[in-house]
Symmetry: C2
Subunit: 338 residues, 2 copies
């Protein structure tokens, strides 16, 4: 196990490197932190930390920078979560309070997170499968054409066109609407398939085909892969890091556009609380030099989706974690109110 002082040295290295973006040497360390020992001693500690793989030197005659493993230790053992200040909290609440609908909530959240952390913000829309049904609406647009509108308790709205195999009367439609809502309203989306299973049986034979079609469209809408959406913002912040740009920024932008990658990433974080993934811990190659801080948010006690930020591994973890946690908390409140 590393001695207490060596951990302090690692902490100091991480802090300085995050602040300056430059490899940090033993002399600078002793000057900026009261370690109570001389540079030579720190050098020994650094050599030990390097042997253990927590830090590395870019070139022989440069200072050290933390490795992914070093950041991991920092995040797990050495750093807390920096709470937001009172004015910051107020600003968050004010900014989110003006939202008029779910799209607006998500858009504002993205902007807010990007501004607070000065990094790329990612916000997932509330998952359908983890929400409950508020209402299902059926609208006859033409005799054999129905629009299906799905509304969740989190304010999310999905719509689908349904082409019916046979004309469907207004009375049958009203019947289906009523039966459907009485069965699924207030229930979790995951329960919907079994709840509507035998619904066609209640209808006249000539309507059963249409009812089945409507129901299967409803079920398709709930399929995991379709139902995940997210919004991204603050990509301009990517330009703040590394001056070796095109190479660094490109794969990150590409990965961000591949929403699948991000969704997988957010989905992987099983822990409902905060998750930090650092550098190579992220499977996707383009994101190997970034870290992702994510957390679930939800209207009640349960998380309905995730939000987080993507930034360079060299990021201010305590501050970022604080901002992410605070924003998630307020978004949850807003959703619960609406």
């Amino acid at each position: 196990m590393l001695s207490e002082r060596r951990l302090q040295v690692l902490r100091a290295i991480v802090q300085d490197y995050v602040g300056t973006e430059e490899p940090v040497g033993s002399k600078a360390l002793t000057e900026r932190h009261n370690l109570g020992v001389s540079p030579a001693t720190v050098r020994n500690d650094m050599a030990a930390l390097e042997d253990e793989g927590f830090i590395a030197q870019p070139h022989t005659s440069a200072g050290r920078i933390p490795t992914d493993k070093g950041y991991r230790l920092f995040v797990d053992k050495l750093a807390g979560v920096k709470p937001m200040t009172a004015p910051e909290r107020r600003a968050i609440q004010n900014f989110l309070d003006g939202a008029v609908d779910l799209d607006d909530v998500v858009a504002r959240t993205v902007r807010l997170l990007a501004q607070l952390t000065r990094q790329v913000a990612v916000v997932q829309y509330p998952s359908l499968t983890r929400s409950t049904v508020r209402h299902v609406e059926l609208l006859a647009l033409a005799p054999a054409r129905v629009m299906l509108v799905l509304i969740t308790d989190t304010g999310r709205v999905e719509q689908r066109m349904v082409d019916c195999p046979a004309p469907f009367g207004e009375a049958s439609l009203a019947d289906l609407r009523a039966r459907l809502n009485s069965r699924v309203a207030g229930r979790r989306f995951t329960d919907v398939p079994t709840l509507v299973e035998d619904l066609p049986d209640a209808f006249e034979p000539e309507d059963r085909g249409t009812v089945s079609t409507v129901l299967s469209t409803l079920l398709e809408t709930l399929v995991e892969e379709n139902e995940e959406r997210l919004m991204i913002g603050g990509t301009a912040n990517l330009t703040r890091f590394g001056h070796d740009f095109p190479l660094t920024i490109r794969p990150v932008l590409e990965a961000l556009e591949e929403q699948v990658v991000l969704l997988k990433l957010l989905g992987e974080a099983k822990d409902p609380g905060m998750t930090v993934r650092i550098g190579h811990e992220i499977a996707h190659e383009g994101l190997n030099s970034t870290s992702v801080v994510s957390v679930g948010y939800g209207s009640g006690g349960e998380a309905v989706a995730k939000l987080g930020v993507v930034g360079p591994t060299r990021m201010d973890y305590p501050g970022t974690m604080g901002a992410v946690r605070a924003v998630a908390r307020y978004v949850g409140q807003i959703l619960a109110e609406s």
Copy 2:
């Protein structure tokens, strides 16, 4: 007026510079294009073109590059719109055909445009004010809480929560829903305000407050500034230009995130057909070294929104214009079908 050959020289310069990204000299020009004259002659032409402000040299001893004015002349007089090939058209159609709802259409369109042009794609959602109402739905979520759902003929869905001043019975709600729809269904959104003006008068005094509240929420939803949304994609393509990056890419990314800027830009292009804005013709500072190609698209003869791409002034204008036009055409078809 410039002689025919000088225009050809300008065209050749634009084409070569777009292809190579490097200033083009007189010798290279004569080698790559059959101008039928010697480099010395071309030099004279280039000097004339420079005097007129169509081209410039980055440094004394380098080749010439087109100025914004040069690109403008190229686009207006020298370049046509390169039509898509048959396979490309088929690919566009296939790609768009799988869309399940409006969000999906827009998302696919953005991806498609970004891929075809290898630039940043921008797609505006169909404008509410230029669409017609398909249906207005009112759902009672609580005695004094109504959800308003607005559906357009282009498939766009907007929802708003309405907190009513007084409890509102299910019967009154059904009444309002029926009256509202009979008045506005099939009508243009811009006509809605006058169409619903006297609607509260038809209700009992105790319900009038609530009806007014619902109606004013409806009207707010239509306010220009709220109703404009857009989706952006292909930002990774920004990294393909200039190696002097951070400086170039940063303001562009910032401008793209400021959706207001883009919306204004798209809105300014009054011409329903294709509009090309080049470099400093764009008022926003961050976009001074980019060009924007935009065109309206719509389900019928009329444009309901715009789409386009943002790229470096040094872009393949004929190809980009061809792609933008083709995509707009197919998106219009898809919307008309849904």
